[in-house]
């Protein structure tokens, strides 16, 4: 008896997982349909989704799901078979059904015994099926209501064609002259867009298209595995990396001491082989956990659509590089910060169509999300062509809230000042709007991203736009690091942001208004003693310093240490119980010779030492 119950439980949870996935897959289709109009394949996909969920739910006795899915399925069938026209009110009702199904599935998942009242939605679905004017019981906002009146008045709002666009603009702006025709090539709203952005993005988009073309559609062999199992393997892989490091260390020592001994030679050969295999395994394990960013990005088109409709703005979302793969942990935690940034763009940055028109900007605002891999990093950029961040206002607010001093405000350049928005307690809009919660959020964004060992920066140009750049390391747990000694302590500096290392004579280090600087390849860079920054004070009587040149985003600076100890691949272990942010460390590792070494947080350190805030 117990077995049957377990079996049932498993079947139900499988059903929930699959149903949710199915709904997730069709989400972006809705927005695409609004611009493409009638696309039989997409309509069929949505139909099949409803059909399949209805089928399984029927067996498992989830009547509410059956009812909603059944009605939605019937509508989709008519749309697919061309017996009914695709229109915004109809798609809205289907979207509502998707939301309701998600809600119902969540209740099942949570086993909370709760359910939802679907009578109102079912009535709407019935109305839509019979072609009656769709009476929505909640009107989200004025523009939406105006659009719904139109069909009744005889202007069928179909979603494609220049005439319809003119009609839409008409209702939105309240009766101005409709544009005679739409100029320009229609840019598909989502996903397959031609990026107008930087050449970096262009290159990656081209690469992507090539890959997509080369892939043939084959039914894939997949396996459903518990995340815990994969994590366990990852942990073990990490331990093996540490063991390998130790072996190599011991091997090197033995090789020096007993050079020529055949056993030692053998050992070295075997250790080398182990090295290769470990690297391969690491890569393979890492890839196991990687998934395309599409999983996160797929809900954005709808988000932007709903948000912009709610406040009467016209915004298109262009996504490039959604095929870029990242670690699962990133997939889980990058969504929230991105939603926040997107909401800010839609809510605060992009102007209303009227304002934009007056400024000579296209009335359609644009938010573009670009993701690509750059060496060991994943870069995600969220850019808008809105009004930009008012840097002066930011500085003023920061002063008011005593986050910076007068002096700092004076010395601060625009690039640094705009990154003030990431400080806690900071809000560029003191008036709360329902959309962005309390308007405070950027520091939460920063915190969430630093949890992924990444960092975020913002660039802005007044009236032109703003770009948020999120930078996340490819592997969360294992990185290449440069080991250094500062006074009596050994530290690990992540290799990726290191541009070069130099040995300089102390007399070559200049001093400009109390700040040490070094001229590196013709550029003057600020220089800091690592032991200074970490609070150990400067050493004395050195003739030479070893200097590590760091480049993070647009910031470049130098860190001076006593000795360079070589590169090592290290496993980052988190350190609990201390304020790692304040201590400028991302974690610790165990080196090849068994020592515990702290790993430096370069991003956090750079923000501090380059004068953005005093702790």
């Amino acid at each position: 008896m117990a077995d049957e119950i377990d079996e049932m439980d498993e079947i139900i949870s499988d059903f929930v997982v699959e149903a949710e996935e199915s709904l997730e897959k069709i989400d972006p289709l809705f927005v695409e349909l609004e611009t493409k109009g009638h696309d039989k394949d997409m309509l069929n996909e949505i139909f099949r989704s409803m059909h399949t969920i209805k089928g399984a739910a029927g067996f498992l006795g989830f009547q509410h799901i059956v009812d909603v899915a059944h009605k939605a399925e019937s509508i989709m069938k008519k749309l697919r078979d061309d017996e009914m026209q695709v229109s915004t009110p109809v798609m809205d009702v289907i979207l509502k059904s998707v939301d309701m199904l998600r809600l119902l599935l969540q209740h099942i998942k949570a086993k909370d015994g709760k359910t939802e009242d679907t009578t109102a939605l079912q009535a709407e679905l019935d109305a839509a099926l019979t072609g009656a004017p769709v009476q929505t019981l909640q009107t989200p906002s004025q523009p939406q209501a105006a659009v719904q009146e139109a069909p009744a008045a005889g202007r069928q709002k179909s979603v494609n064609g220049p005439a319809a666009d003119a009609a839409q603009e008409n209702t939105l702006s309240g009766g101005t002259e409709p544009e005679p025709k739409k100029d320009d090539v229609r840019i598909p709203e989502v996903v397959h867009a031609q990026p107008a952005a930087s050449s970096e993005a262009d290159h990656h988009a081209a690469e992507e298209r090539a890959v997509a073309a080369a892939q043939t559609k084959e039914p894939s062999q997949t396996l459903r595995i518990d995340v815990d199992k994969v994590d366990k393997v990852m942990d073990l892989a990490g331990e093996i990396v540490l063991v390998r490091n130790r072996l190599m260390n011991i091997g090197n020592y033995l090789e020096e001491k007993y050079s020529g001994d055949s056993y030692v030679e053998s050992l070295m050969g075997t250790v080398s082989f182990l090295d290769l295999v470990t690297s391969d395994m690491q890569l393979a394990v890492m890839k196991m956990r990687m998934q395309p960013l599409k999983k996160v990005f797929s809900k954005f088109p709808r988000l932007v659509r709903d948000l912009s409709n709610n406040i009467g703005k016209d915004i298109e979302l262009i996504i490039t590089g959604e095929g870029t793969e990242v670690d699962r942990a990133v997939i889980e935690h990058i969504g929230d910060p991105m939603v926040h940034i997107i909401r800010n763009s839609v809510d605060h940055a992009i102007e209303t169509p009227e304002v934009r028109q007056k400024m000579g900007k296209p009335t359609k605002g644009r938010v573009s999300i670009t993701a690509f891999q750059q060496g060991n990093q994943i870069i995600i950029e969220v850019a808008d062509d809105g009004k930009g961040i008012d840097v002066e206002r930011v500085k003023k607010k920061a002063l008011e809230k005593a986050l910076i001093t007068e002096d700092e405000a004076q010395r601060m350049n625009d690039e640094s000042a705009v990154n003030l928005i990431f400080m806690p307690g900071f809000s560029t809009m003191d008036v709360a709007t329902e959309l962005s919660g309390r308007g405070v959020g950027m520091d939460v964004v920063k915190t969430n991203i630093s949890k992924l060992n990444g960092y975020v920066e913002v660039r802005t140009v007044k009236n032109v736009g703003t770009t948020f750049r999120i930078n996340i390391p490819l592997t969360l747990a294992i990185i290449h690091a440069l080991m250094v000694r500062a006074r009596d302590n050994q530290y690990a500096i992540p290799l990726a942001p290191i541009e070069e290392t130099l040995k300089v004579a102390v007399k070559d280090i200049e001093n400009v208004s109390g700040q040490k600087v070094l001229v590196v390849r013709g550029k003057v860079l600020p220089l800091f003693e690592l032991s200074d920054i970490l609070g150990y004070g400067t050493g004395q009587g050195n003739e030479y310093r070893y200097v590590v040149v760091i480049a993070i985003g647009d910031r470049r600076f130098c860190i001076a240490v006593d000795e360079l100890l070589g590169q090592e691949e290290v496993v980052i272990k988190t350190v609990e119980g201390i304020d790692t942010n304040a201590a400028f460390i991302v974690g610790a590792t165990i080196t090849g010779d068994g020592k515990v070494v702290l790993i430096i947080d370069l991003a956090g350190m750079s923000r501090n030492v380059l004068g953005l805030k005093k702790m």
Binding site: E7, I11, D14, F15, E18, A19, R48, H51, T52, K54, G55, A56, G58, F59, L60, H70, E73, S74, K77, P219
Partner: protein
């Protein structure tokens, strides 16, 4: 009555559905069950031999139930294989087409173990088993 040891193929593109049908078959006492996720995969599995019964969904990507049935009926080795079509309430019109193509019986989802037994017994009866 069919032999409880017979090998059955369950074809459906939704894995939860396959699980559910498999469960119901097990409740009826059948243990030898295999799965396929669309008509194409189903047909190739059948070609490997040894199957005595097919339970198939009708609406599947790649190759749907009707196509698979047609292939089965035109294959010299498989032409007499009993096929039970699983259909949704709204697809009753497809049943006629299916019968013309040679399906043995159809069952509407959701169904219980009793209903499935009835349908299978009917097929057995007609086949003189």
């Amino acid at each position: 009555m069919f032999d409880l040891k017979m090998k059955i193929l369950v074809v459906d593109d939704f894995s939860t559905m396959r699980r559910i049908v498999k469960n119901i078959l097990k409740q009826l006492g059948y243990e030898n069950i295999e799965e396929a996720e669309d008509g194409a995969q189903g047909f190739s599995k059948l070609k490997t031999g040894g199957f005595h019964f097919v339970v198939s969904d009708w609406n599947m990507p790649n190759m749907d139930g009707l196509e698979m049935l047609t292939k089965i009926r035109s294959d010299p080795e498989l032409k007499d294989l009993p096929v039970l079509m699983v259909t949704a309430e709204a697809e009753k019109d497809k049943v006629v087409t299916a019968i013309k193509a040679g399906v043995n019986n159809y069952v509407v989802k959701p169904f219980t173990a009793e209903i499935l037994k009835e349908k299978m017994d009917k097929i057995a009866e007609r086949l003189g088993k």
